[in-house]
Subunit: 303 residues, 4 copies
């Protein structure tokens, strides 16, 4: 079943808030998200800034210890304007490096959703009116946090949250551990495009039309968000510093390979050794995000 849902309010923490809609496993939802500062498709401020989330969506039958499946059916910018930071964050450059920049306001981009491009309009720089292809993604999404917590949409943890990874695009399937009854799925903070590391603290921030499908794996426990696309499976580690984010992602991948992909511990170690790939999700948020990827073609057949 497909639900059409029009949000009337938003949340800036991922916790046990009152659900806005209850769905059955297998149902799809068509809805919208506002941008990181709370502006909608009409550039109107409809809620305070801070990665406001659409949701939560209660999935009938979801219990702690299950895994929530989220298929990102469509992530589509729904306006012609985006903004982004214009100065690389101090945490991604050397402490003694001085960024000599004029005052750091937001940069602005014209977005052409028909042709799938964004063009820098301001500020002036030697880049001129740089035009880039869009690659829309969801910056912040996940489920109610564990242990009865309500965690800010500024950060991320085992429940997902503000991971700011450009791999969360249309067509990807994402898996989250369920910590609360109904899972309570939220999403928001769409980016029309983003580099690795989200090193200015933002992608091309924009409101979105989204469609996603929710499903469950009952009694199947995972430690961290996982995902897959046509080519690869990937695990996501969120923490500071990068070392610990990487440790979380690698540990989760080793467990996954053994649990679900037909490898023994020795085989999982040998496979990662020569074939693993890492992506830097973000190195800006309170928790950083590293992603550990393995090509599906390398997995034992049938897995």
């Amino acid at each position: 079943m497909e639900h059409q849902f029009t949000p009337t309010h938003y949340f800036t923490t991922l916790g046990s808030h009152e659900p806005v809609l209850t769905v059955q496993p297998g149902d799809s939802v068509v809805t919208t998200t506002v941008d990181a500062r709370g502006k909608d498709a009409n550039r109107e401020q409809v809620t305070p800034r801070g990665n406001p989330q659409t949701g939560p969506f209660f999935v009938e039958g979801a219990e702690p210890g299950d895994t929530l499946i989220v298929r990102l059916d469509s992530i589509a910018p729904n306006r012609d304007w985006a903004f982004c930071g214009s100065s690389v964050a101090p945490n991604v450059v050397r402490p003694d490096f001085v960024l000599e920049l004029p005052e750091a306001g937001m940069a602005e981009w014209d977005v052409d959703v028909v042709n799938g491009t964004a063009t820098l309009t301001t500020p002036e720089s030697k880049l001129g009116r740089l035009t880039l292809p869009l690659d829309p993604m969801i910056g912040c999404f996940g489920v109610a946090a564990k242990g009865g917590q309500a965690i800010s949409t500024a950060t991320s943890a085992e429940h997902g949250g503000n991971m700011d990874y450009r791999g969360f695009r249309t067509g990807v399937t994402v898996y989250f551990p369920v910590f609360e009854p109904g899972a309570l799925f939220f999403l928001g903070d769409g980016h029309a495009l983003q580099g690795d590391g989200e090193i200015v603290g933002s992608g091309l921030e924009i409101s979105m039309d989204v469609r996603f499908t929710l499903d469950l794996i009952k009694e199947h426990e995972i430690g961290w968000p996982r995902g897959e696309n046509d080519e690869e499976i990937f695990s996501v580690g969120n923490a500071r510093p990068l070392d610990e984010a990487t440790q979380n992602a690698t540990t989760e991948m080793l467990r996954w390979l053994v649990q679900d992909h037909g490898l023994d511990a020795r085989g999982a170690n040998l496979l990662l050794a020569q074939c693993v790939r890492y992506d830097l999700g973000n190195m800006f948020d309170p928790a950083y995000t590293m992603v550990c990827r393995v090509a599906k073609s390398l997995l034992p057949s049938g897995s």
Copy 2:
């Protein structure tokens, strides 16, 4: 001019050792490297283990403050056997994660240099006789360290060293800062293949036939190793932890974009924001390596 050089001894520190050969800027060298444990093309132990280096090569006219250009003309495995670690290192998994593995000896691989593949032969695992395409690279190379130091080939710093990045393959041009007269170029520790992070502490360790060309940019100072291939330019940061390696690489890229690629500071910041890519070189050695990449197609034309 092309020099044929047959090594008779090797070094396990990068410092002001007696040169084995003096070359002119623009000259090429054809030589060999032994594997990380000091074994040559015949699998004979010809020097103690520890990433033994061929060299140093003295480049006539190189002075501190110059940049050494190294073109990797050819990096070719020269035997049919390689080995690698079989257990993921404790620093890339969570501290409380217990790797339940039988005793961790070296894994062995048959290498087919004609067809460009490697096949796992031992130990037994559910991977079976996994066959992978080769992607040969140099694990450890660079110049005499700065400040009169002699730095172990186990680690890396501004002078290069044991960076273990799979992007150092045939056809790549690498730039090193010059700290000592003659630059004193060393290389060794070839890998027939390696995953991101070198997370078992080794790639497919193998001896190599190599050809490289050395040249100079006079009075041109860089802070960290840089490189380029047909598609991209990249800067290399070496340090612990990963955060600091990433900071070094990003800082170097910002400087490079402004110094040599026609961008102003604002443009360099905006470009990296939405377009940068990071690769994890290694997360095993005493200093980790992160690589910051930018597509050449995004640089102002003519740069």
Copy 3:
């Protein structure tokens, strides 16, 4: 006014929970705390484990932007038994260090509250029945977290929480930023004694009789918890890794010296340079704690 308060339920997150008592600024509260695992003075399990907190106490008139003053009038163990971990945590030893220990249950201690000592009773080791003087402290306390969050009592942040610093003992005055109306003060997780770093994940865990006095500084904003005793002032930084915890504490101290202690920026820098002391609070919890201390005798007189 002094309130006698007997808790009937406890919380394991610091957030906007229903207050258990409303007090006026300047009021004192006499109450009890259970141990980290939810056991009370009679060793009875009265609530689930996880640093359960007594409170929250609503302070009349407290608003975001104020500072809450907490004077720890008395922190007194109220039973004769404590427990602690028996194995140093993997995050405080080298990743390749193998702790060869028999299975790691809890150690137990006899506590003599009259004479102020604790004696190790189990497990057996070459320490024998080691007897140590008590130094009672509060492991986890603070106010409702910022941004509408509810944060687990396993960790800490700007609002305080599980800081596990042995300096939070009787006679100390602590300052917290106020993020929610009423501040909402919580406390629990008493330790009869604890080493630096809480490196086994616990001190001598015990239930407590406590007395504290709450007061306000109106319209006075601080960034992180601060404290003072007869000899010193100190600021507290909570984060991972230790570097960032130290950065938070040092930054807060610099601000404090300039805001409230009559120093200019130059003087604050020069004073810390030669006189600062750091204490490692904990290096076990999800956020670590570093404490930055300055002797009161070094501050400009009158401050």
Copy 4:
């Protein structure tokens, strides 16, 4: 036997340099050190800056696998002037914290060696002419680095080096692993006083009259520098980040307690748990230094 030694040249790396003097185990040396910038007792520049070292001293009979004992008999400033940095380093404050300070030259201090005090003379600040008691220490000392390396006196590792820990004062006995024949002991970089963390990158930098006694423990391997004073034993971990420095120090202390102090692994773990103390040596140099301390009164008697 006591040797009087007058240095004629200095080194800025710790490696296998030509010894300046050969001594027998048990011998003492009376000599001088210049300050961090190469100035001597007369404030004359006698060698380039960079923590220049007096030595190396070759200890007859020292072999790799032995332990060098260094007793710091006397560390005494020998002039009336010292200098220090005046701005806290960017790596000890939050990345987004802006130090608003006038240009950061060196601060200067009058040193009264008779009365044991230092008085700040410049720059002007609200500290005025702050007077502090001296607590003289050695900032950089150690042995030739391991693996044939020559390591800069800017940094530190297993061989010691630039640890900048205020506990290295008169009366302390320090232990270093021996990596090269003769051990090759160096020392320099005296501080008349220093705070924890050496957070401005310097203590009160000054030239020194020193006396030390060298001895050996044959065939006794240690991993990191160790020390003891009348009250405590301590181990020293050098690395970035602070987490890893702390891990090195803690691991070394556990090994020491079991090897030499009559504890079993369980006892060593339980003792550290409730009794360990940590000191932050420096958080400025390329490798940071953490110190792990245990009171001698807590060790099994006779150890």
